[in-house]
Protein backbone atom coordinates (compact mmCIF):
# COMPACT_ATOMS: atom_id res chain seq x y z
CA UNK A 1 0.00 0.00 0.00
CA UNK A 2 2.86 2.18 0.98
CA UNK A 3 4.42 1.35 -2.37
CA UNK A 4 1.38 2.70 -4.02
CA UNK A 5 1.49 5.69 -1.82
CA UNK A 6 5.16 6.26 -2.80
CA UNK A 7 4.17 6.21 -6.33
CA UNK A 8 1.58 8.81 -5.54
CA UNK A 9 -1.35 6.47 -5.94
CA UNK A 10 -4.01 6.64 -3.31
CA UNK A 11 -6.18 3.50 -3.11
CA UNK A 12 -9.03 5.44 -1.75
CA UNK A 13 -8.94 7.76 -4.56
CA UNK A 14 -8.93 4.79 -6.82
CA UNK A 15 -11.93 3.44 -5.07
CA UNK A 16 -13.63 6.67 -5.21
CA UNK A 17 -12.84 6.83 -8.84
CA UNK A 18 -14.22 3.43 -9.43
CA UNK A 19 -17.39 4.26 -7.46
CA UNK A 20 -17.68 7.46 -9.45
CA UNK A 21 -17.21 5.65 -12.67
CA UNK A 22 -19.76 3.05 -11.61
CA UNK A 23 -22.18 5.76 -10.70
CA UNK A 24 -21.48 7.52 -13.95
CA UNK A 25 -22.13 4.34 -15.84
CA UNK A 26 -25.37 3.73 -13.92
CA UNK A 27 -26.44 7.31 -14.53
CA UNK A 28 -25.46 7.14 -18.17
CA UNK A 29 -27.28 3.84 -18.61
CA UNK A 30 -30.43 5.20 -17.15
CA UNK A 31 -30.21 8.73 -18.44
CA UNK A 32 -28.53 8.38 -21.91
CA UNK A 33 -28.22 4.80 -23.07
CA UNK A 34 -31.82 3.77 -22.65
CA UNK A 35 -33.38 6.84 -24.31
CA UNK A 36 -30.92 6.46 -27.14
CA UNK A 37 -31.83 2.82 -27.52
CA UNK A 38 -35.48 3.67 -27.29
CA UNK A 39 -34.98 6.41 -29.88
CA UNK A 40 -33.07 4.02 -32.12
CA UNK A 41 -35.75 1.35 -31.69
CA UNK A 42 -38.50 3.75 -32.56
CA UNK A 43 -36.51 5.06 -35.51
CA UNK A 44 -35.87 1.53 -36.67
CA UNK A 45 -39.57 0.81 -36.36
CA UNK A 46 -40.44 3.93 -38.32
CA UNK A 47 -37.95 3.00 -41.02
CA UNK A 48 -39.31 -0.51 -41.15
CA UNK A 49 -42.85 0.83 -41.35
CA UNK A 50 -41.77 3.23 -44.05
CA UNK A 51 -40.13 0.42 -45.92
CA UNK A 52 -43.21 -1.70 -45.51
CA UNK A 53 -45.40 1.15 -46.59
CA UNK A 54 -43.10 1.74 -49.52
CA UNK A 55 -43.34 -1.92 -50.32
CA UNK A 56 -47.13 -1.78 -50.13
CA UNK A 57 -47.14 1.32 -52.26
CA UNK A 58 -44.82 -0.34 -54.68
CA UNK A 59 -47.07 -3.36 -54.83
CA UNK A 60 -50.12 -1.17 -55.26
CA UNK A 61 -48.32 0.78 -57.93
CA UNK A 62 -47.40 -2.41 -59.69
CA UNK A 63 -50.97 -3.59 -59.38
CA UNK A 64 -52.28 -0.27 -60.66
CA UNK A 65 -49.78 -0.34 -63.48
CA UNK A 66 -50.90 -3.85 -64.38
CA UNK A 67 -54.51 -2.77 -64.19
CA UNK A 68 -53.69 0.23 -66.30
CA UNK A 69 -51.94 -1.98 -68.81
CA UNK A 70 -54.88 -4.38 -68.76
CA UNK A 71 -57.30 -1.47 -69.16
CA UNK A 72 -55.14 -0.10 -71.94
CA UNK A 73 -55.08 -3.47 -73.63
CA UNK A 74 -58.83 -3.79 -73.18
CA UNK A 75 -59.33 -0.31 -74.46
CA UNK A 76 -57.04 -1.01 -77.37
CA UNK A 77 -58.98 -4.18 -78.12
CA UNK A 78 -62.23 -2.29 -77.75
CA UNK A 79 -60.90 0.45 -79.95
CA UNK A 80 -59.71 -2.06 -82.46
CA UNK A 81 -63.09 -3.76 -82.40
CA UNK A 82 -64.89 -0.42 -82.70
CA UNK A 83 -62.57 0.58 -85.50
CA UNK A 84 -63.28 -2.71 -87.21
CA UNK A 85 -67.01 -2.25 -86.69
CA UNK A 86 -66.74 1.28 -87.95
CA UNK A 87 -64.81 0.11 -90.97
CA UNK A 88 -67.41 -2.60 -91.59
CA UNK A 89 -70.20 -0.10 -91.09
CA UNK A 90 -68.43 2.26 -93.44
CA UNK A 91 -68.03 -0.53 -95.98
CA UNK A 92 -71.69 -1.50 -95.64
CA UNK A 93 -72.78 2.10 -95.91
CA UNK A 94 -70.54 2.63 -98.89
CA UNK A 95 -71.89 -0.51 -100.52
CA UNK A 96 -75.44 0.53 -99.69
CA UNK A 97 -74.84 4.02 -101.00
CA UNK A 98 -73.19 2.62 -104.09
CA UNK A 99 -76.21 0.35 -104.60
CA UNK A 100 -78.57 3.25 -104.05
CA UNK A 101 -76.54 5.40 -106.38
CA UNK A 102 -76.54 2.64 -108.93
CA UNK A 103 -80.31 2.31 -108.57
CA UNK A 104 -80.70 6.05 -108.78
CA UNK A 105 -78.40 6.24 -111.74
CA UNK A 106 -80.30 3.41 -113.44
CA UNK A 107 -83.60 5.12 -112.64
CA UNK A 108 -82.29 8.46 -113.86
CA UNK A 109 -80.96 6.84 -116.98
CA UNK A 110 -84.28 5.09 -117.52
CA UNK A 111 -86.17 8.34 -117.02
CA UNK A 112 -83.75 10.19 -119.25
CA UNK A 113 -84.15 7.49 -121.89
CA UNK A 114 -87.90 7.66 -121.56
CA UNK A 115 -87.78 11.43 -121.81
CA UNK A 116 -85.53 11.18 -124.83
CA UNK A 117 -87.85 8.59 -126.35
CA UNK A 118 -90.91 10.76 -125.73
CA UNK A 119 -89.16 13.82 -127.09
CA UNK A 120 -87.93 11.82 -130.04
CA UNK A 121 -91.45 10.59 -130.76
CA UNK A 122 -92.78 14.11 -130.38
CA UNK A 123 -90.15 15.40 -132.74
CA UNK A 124 -90.90 12.63 -135.20
CA UNK A 125 -94.59 13.40 -134.88
CA UNK A 126 -93.96 17.11 -135.35
CA UNK A 127 -91.78 16.46 -138.34
CA UNK A 128 -94.36 14.04 -139.70
CA UNK A 129 -97.14 16.54 -139.22
CA UNK A 130 -95.12 19.33 -140.76
CA UNK A 131 -94.19 17.05 -143.63
CA UNK A 132 -97.77 15.95 -144.10
CA UNK A 133 -99.02 19.52 -143.95
CA UNK A 134 -96.41 20.48 -146.50
CA UNK A 135 -97.33 17.53 -148.68
CA UNK A 136 -100.98 18.40 -148.30
CA UNK A 137 -100.30 22.02 -149.21
CA UNK A 138 -98.25 21.03 -152.24
CA UNK A 139 -100.78 18.44 -153.36
CA UNK A 140 -103.73 20.75 -152.76
CA UNK A 141 -102.02 23.61 -154.54
CA UNK A 142 -101.16 21.37 -157.45
CA UNK A 143 -104.56 19.78 -157.83
CA UNK A 144 -106.42 23.00 -157.16
CA UNK A 145 -104.62 25.15 -159.64
CA UNK A 146 -103.09 22.86 -162.17
CA UNK A 147 -105.70 20.20 -162.87
CA UNK A 148 -107.59 20.84 -166.13
CA UNK A 149 -111.32 21.48 -165.95
CA UNK A 150 -112.18 18.35 -167.93
CA UNK A 151 -110.26 16.19 -165.46
CA UNK A 152 -112.28 17.67 -162.60
CA UNK A 153 -115.53 17.04 -164.49
CA UNK A 154 -114.41 13.50 -165.20
CA UNK A 155 -113.65 13.02 -161.50
CA UNK A 156 -117.21 14.09 -160.66
CA UNK A 157 -118.61 11.57 -163.14
CA UNK A 158 -116.35 8.83 -161.75
CA UNK A 159 -117.32 9.67 -158.17
CA UNK A 160 -120.99 9.55 -159.09
CA UNK A 161 -120.52 6.13 -160.74
CA UNK A 162 -118.76 4.98 -157.60
CA UNK A 163 -121.56 6.36 -155.41
CA UNK A 164 -124.24 4.60 -157.46
Amino acid sequence: MEGLSSLGIDPLSILIYIVNTGLLIVVLVYVLYKPILKFLDSRRDRIRESVEEAQILKEELTKKAEEARAAEAHFEAQLKKETENLRKFGEEKRAQMEAEMATLRTEMLRKANEEIEVRKNELIKEVEETLLQLMKKVVLDTVKNRVPEEVVMESIRDAWKQYK
Binding site: E128, L131, M135, K136, V139, V143, V151, S155, R157, Q162
Partner: protein, 228 residues
Protein backbone atom coordinates in the same frame (compact mmCIF):
# COMPACT_ATOMS: atom_id res chain seq x y z
CA UNK B 1 -143.36 31.26 -152.21
CA UNK B 2 -145.65 28.54 -153.46
CA UNK B 3 -148.87 30.52 -153.13
CA UNK B 4 -148.97 31.61 -156.76
CA UNK B 5 -148.29 28.07 -157.93
CA UNK B 6 -150.92 26.59 -155.61
CA UNK B 7 -153.40 29.26 -156.69
CA UNK B 8 -152.67 28.43 -160.31
CA UNK B 9 -153.11 24.73 -159.62
CA UNK B 10 -156.38 25.39 -157.81
CA UNK B 11 -157.57 27.60 -160.63
CA UNK B 12 -156.75 24.98 -163.25
CA UNK B 13 -158.29 22.15 -161.25
CA UNK B 14 -161.47 24.10 -160.57
CA UNK B 15 -161.65 25.12 -164.22
CA UNK B 16 -161.30 21.49 -165.22
CA UNK B 17 -163.92 20.45 -162.63
CA UNK B 18 -166.36 23.06 -163.90
CA UNK B 19 -165.99 21.64 -167.40
CA UNK B 20 -166.45 18.08 -166.13
CA UNK B 21 -168.86 18.30 -163.21
CA UNK B 22 -169.29 14.50 -163.06
CA UNK B 23 -165.54 13.82 -163.21
CA UNK B 24 -165.25 12.40 -159.73
CA UNK B 25 -168.06 9.94 -160.32
CA UNK B 26 -166.15 8.33 -163.22
CA UNK B 27 -163.90 5.28 -163.11
CA UNK B 28 -160.13 5.78 -163.00
CA UNK B 29 -159.69 4.76 -166.63
CA UNK B 30 -162.32 7.19 -167.84
CA UNK B 31 -160.78 9.94 -165.74
CA UNK B 32 -157.37 9.30 -167.25
CA UNK B 33 -158.87 9.60 -170.72
CA UNK B 34 -160.38 12.94 -169.83
CA UNK B 35 -157.16 14.13 -168.19
CA UNK B 36 -155.04 13.20 -171.19
CA UNK B 37 -155.69 16.53 -172.91
CA UNK B 38 -155.62 18.56 -169.72
CA UNK B 39 -152.46 20.64 -169.25
CA UNK B 40 -151.51 19.64 -165.76
CA UNK B 41 -148.42 18.05 -164.20
CA UNK B 42 -148.47 14.24 -164.44
CA UNK B 43 -148.33 13.76 -160.68
CA UNK B 44 -151.47 15.85 -160.22
CA UNK B 45 -153.20 14.07 -163.08
CA UNK B 46 -152.48 10.82 -161.27
CA UNK B 47 -153.88 12.32 -158.07
CA UNK B 48 -157.05 13.47 -159.82
CA UNK B 49 -157.47 10.10 -161.48
CA UNK B 50 -157.38 8.21 -158.21
CA UNK B 51 -158.87 10.47 -155.54
CA UNK B 52 -162.49 10.35 -154.41
CA UNK B 53 -164.97 13.15 -153.95
CA UNK B 54 -164.66 13.28 -150.18
CA UNK B 55 -160.90 13.48 -150.14
CA UNK B 56 -160.85 15.90 -153.03
CA UNK B 57 -163.16 18.30 -151.18
CA UNK B 58 -161.12 17.98 -148.02
CA UNK B 59 -157.94 18.70 -149.95
CA UNK B 60 -159.56 21.71 -151.64
CA UNK B 61 -160.59 23.08 -148.26
CA UNK B 62 -157.11 22.57 -146.89
CA UNK B 63 -155.61 24.23 -149.93
CA UNK B 64 -157.95 27.19 -149.62
CA UNK B 65 -157.30 27.54 -145.93
CA UNK B 66 -153.58 27.56 -146.67
CA UNK B 67 -153.92 30.15 -149.41
CA UNK B 68 -156.11 32.39 -147.27
CA UNK B 69 -153.82 31.89 -144.31
CA UNK B 70 -156.50 30.41 -142.04
CA UNK B 71 -154.66 27.14 -141.52
CA UNK B 72 -153.26 27.25 -138.04
CA UNK B 73 -151.23 24.12 -138.24
CA UNK B 74 -148.61 23.75 -140.93
CA UNK B 75 -148.32 20.04 -140.14
CA UNK B 76 -151.86 19.52 -141.38
CA UNK B 77 -150.48 19.01 -144.91
CA UNK B 78 -148.28 16.11 -143.79
CA UNK B 79 -149.23 13.01 -145.73
CA UNK B 80 -151.88 14.85 -147.73
CA UNK B 81 -152.16 13.27 -151.18
CA UNK B 82 -152.71 16.52 -153.05
CA UNK B 83 -149.63 18.10 -151.55
CA UNK B 84 -147.72 14.90 -152.12
CA UNK B 85 -148.63 15.17 -155.81
CA UNK B 86 -147.46 18.79 -155.81
CA UNK B 87 -144.25 17.76 -154.10
CA UNK B 88 -143.70 14.95 -156.57
CA UNK B 89 -144.10 17.41 -159.43
CA UNK B 90 -141.74 19.90 -157.81
CA UNK B 91 -139.10 17.35 -156.86
CA UNK B 92 -139.03 15.73 -160.30
CA UNK B 93 -140.25 17.81 -163.24
CA UNK B 94 -139.67 21.25 -161.77
CA UNK B 95 -136.36 20.24 -160.13
CA UNK B 96 -135.25 18.93 -163.53
CA UNK B 97 -135.96 22.34 -165.06
CA UNK B 98 -134.16 23.98 -162.15
CA UNK B 99 -131.10 21.84 -162.80
CA UNK B 100 -131.00 22.88 -166.43
CA UNK B 101 -130.24 26.43 -165.40
CA UNK B 102 -126.52 27.16 -165.17
CA UNK B 103 -125.10 28.78 -162.04
CA UNK B 104 -124.44 32.03 -163.86
CA UNK B 105 -128.20 32.31 -164.48
CA UNK B 106 -128.69 33.58 -160.94
CA UNK B 107 -126.23 36.41 -161.57
CA UNK B 108 -128.07 37.72 -164.61
CA UNK B 109 -130.30 40.83 -164.50
CA UNK B 110 -134.03 40.22 -164.01
CA UNK B 111 -134.91 40.78 -167.68
CA UNK B 112 -132.27 38.35 -168.89
CA UNK B 113 -133.34 35.84 -166.31
CA UNK B 114 -136.90 36.01 -167.49
CA UNK B 115 -135.71 35.50 -171.06
CA UNK B 116 -133.80 32.40 -170.02
CA UNK B 117 -136.80 31.12 -168.09
CA UNK B 118 -139.06 31.68 -171.08
CA UNK B 119 -136.72 29.55 -173.13
CA UNK B 120 -136.69 26.88 -170.45
CA UNK B 121 -140.46 26.70 -169.93
CA UNK B 122 -142.23 27.16 -173.22
CA UNK B 123 -145.81 26.72 -171.96
CA UNK B 124 -147.81 29.78 -171.13
CA UNK B 125 -150.35 28.23 -168.79
CA UNK B 126 -151.11 29.73 -165.40
CA UNK B 127 -149.03 27.04 -163.71
CA UNK B 128 -146.13 27.68 -166.08
CA UNK B 129 -146.30 31.41 -165.37
CA UNK B 130 -146.23 30.77 -161.65
CA UNK B 131 -143.19 28.56 -162.09
CA UNK B 132 -141.46 31.13 -164.29
CA UNK B 133 -142.02 33.80 -161.64
CA UNK B 134 -140.62 31.45 -159.04
CA UNK B 135 -137.46 30.87 -161.06
CA UNK B 136 -136.98 34.46 -162.17
CA UNK B 137 -137.44 36.08 -158.78
CA UNK B 138 -135.57 33.77 -156.42
CA UNK B 139 -132.05 32.47 -156.06
CA UNK B 140 -131.23 28.77 -156.29
CA UNK B 141 -130.59 28.64 -152.56
CA UNK B 142 -133.96 30.21 -151.77
CA UNK B 143 -135.84 27.84 -154.05
CA UNK B 144 -133.90 24.79 -152.88
CA UNK B 145 -134.34 25.63 -149.20
CA UNK B 146 -138.01 26.29 -149.63
CA UNK B 147 -138.55 23.04 -151.52
CA UNK B 148 -136.63 21.19 -148.87
CA UNK B 149 -138.85 22.66 -146.14
CA UNK B 150 -141.96 21.94 -148.17
CA UNK B 151 -140.79 18.37 -148.67
CA UNK B 152 -140.22 18.04 -144.93
CA UNK B 153 -143.69 19.47 -144.20
CA UNK B 154 -145.47 17.09 -146.57
CA UNK B 155 -143.54 13.91 -145.84
CA UNK B 156 -140.67 12.89 -143.61
CA UNK B 157 -138.46 12.82 -146.65
CA UNK B 158 -134.70 12.60 -146.51
CA UNK B 159 -132.47 15.66 -146.64
CA UNK B 160 -130.08 15.17 -149.53
CA UNK B 161 -127.23 17.48 -150.43
CA UNK B 162 -124.74 16.93 -153.24
CA UNK B 163 -121.54 18.96 -153.21
CA UNK B 164 -119.31 19.25 -156.25
CA UNK B 165 -116.19 21.29 -157.01
CA UNK B 166 -117.67 22.71 -160.25
CA UNK B 167 -121.07 23.26 -161.73
CA UNK B 168 -121.83 20.16 -163.76
CA UNK B 169 -123.72 19.77 -167.02
CA UNK B 170 -127.53 19.49 -166.77
CA UNK B 171 -127.53 15.92 -168.08
CA UNK B 172 -125.39 14.67 -165.21
CA UNK B 173 -127.37 16.75 -162.75
CA UNK B 174 -130.56 15.17 -164.07
CA UNK B 175 -129.06 11.70 -163.82
CA UNK B 176 -127.95 12.31 -160.25
CA UNK B 177 -131.30 13.80 -159.25
CA UNK B 178 -133.25 10.94 -160.81
CA UNK B 179 -131.12 8.32 -159.12
CA UNK B 180 -131.31 10.04 -155.75
CA UNK B 181 -135.06 10.70 -156.06
CA UNK B 182 -135.55 7.04 -156.79
CA UNK B 183 -133.46 6.09 -153.77
CA UNK B 184 -135.00 8.75 -151.50
CA UNK B 185 -138.56 9.31 -152.80
CA UNK B 186 -140.08 12.79 -152.53
CA UNK B 187 -136.80 14.25 -151.36
CA UNK B 188 -135.33 17.32 -152.99
CA UNK B 189 -131.61 16.78 -153.55
CA UNK B 190 -129.80 20.10 -153.40
CA UNK B 191 -126.72 20.76 -155.52
CA UNK B 192 -124.00 22.92 -154.09
CA UNK B 193 -120.67 24.02 -155.53
CA UNK B 194 -117.80 23.65 -153.07
CA UNK B 195 -114.45 24.40 -154.67
CA UNK B 196 -112.59 23.01 -151.68
CA UNK B 197 -113.48 19.51 -152.84
CA UNK B 198 -111.15 19.95 -155.87
CA UNK B 199 -112.53 16.84 -157.57
CA UNK B 200 -115.09 14.08 -157.08
CA UNK B 201 -118.22 14.74 -155.06
CA UNK B 202 -119.68 14.52 -151.61
CA UNK B 203 -123.22 13.39 -150.75
CA UNK B 204 -124.96 14.16 -147.46
CA UNK B 205 -128.11 12.21 -146.61
CA UNK B 206 -129.76 13.13 -143.32
CA UNK B 207 -126.42 14.26 -141.94
CA UNK B 208 -124.56 11.12 -143.03
CA UNK B 209 -121.73 11.80 -145.43
CA UNK B 210 -120.41 9.79 -148.32
CA UNK B 211 -117.27 11.63 -149.24
CA UNK B 212 -115.79 10.76 -152.61
CA UNK B 213 -113.98 14.05 -153.07
CA UNK B 214 -110.32 14.51 -153.88
CA UNK B 215 -110.00 16.67 -150.81
CA UNK B 216 -111.04 13.71 -148.65
CA UNK B 217 -108.58 11.45 -150.45
CA UNK B 218 -105.74 13.92 -149.99
CA UNK B 219 -106.68 14.26 -146.34
CA UNK B 220 -106.69 10.49 -146.00
CA UNK B 221 -103.29 10.16 -147.65
CA UNK B 222 -101.72 12.98 -145.67
CA UNK B 223 -103.12 11.68 -142.40
CA UNK B 224 -101.32 8.35 -142.76
CA UNK B 225 -98.64 8.07 -140.03
CA UNK B 226 -95.19 7.50 -141.46
CA UNK B 227 -93.81 5.99 -138.23
CA UNK B 228 -96.67 3.55 -137.73
Amino acid sequence: MLNSLLTALLYEVLGFASHHPDFLTLEAGQREELLADFKMPTALKHYLAHTNEKHFMQDLRLLLSMLTGTSQNSLSIKGNLFFKAVLEFLSTTFAGKLDELPNKFYLLPAVKRMEEVEKLIESDSLIARALKDLLANNSYQEIASFLEQFSKAVTDSDMVLVQMPRDIEPALKKEIREALSEKYPLSFPKFQVNRELIGGLRVFVNGKTKDLSWFARINKITSIKISS
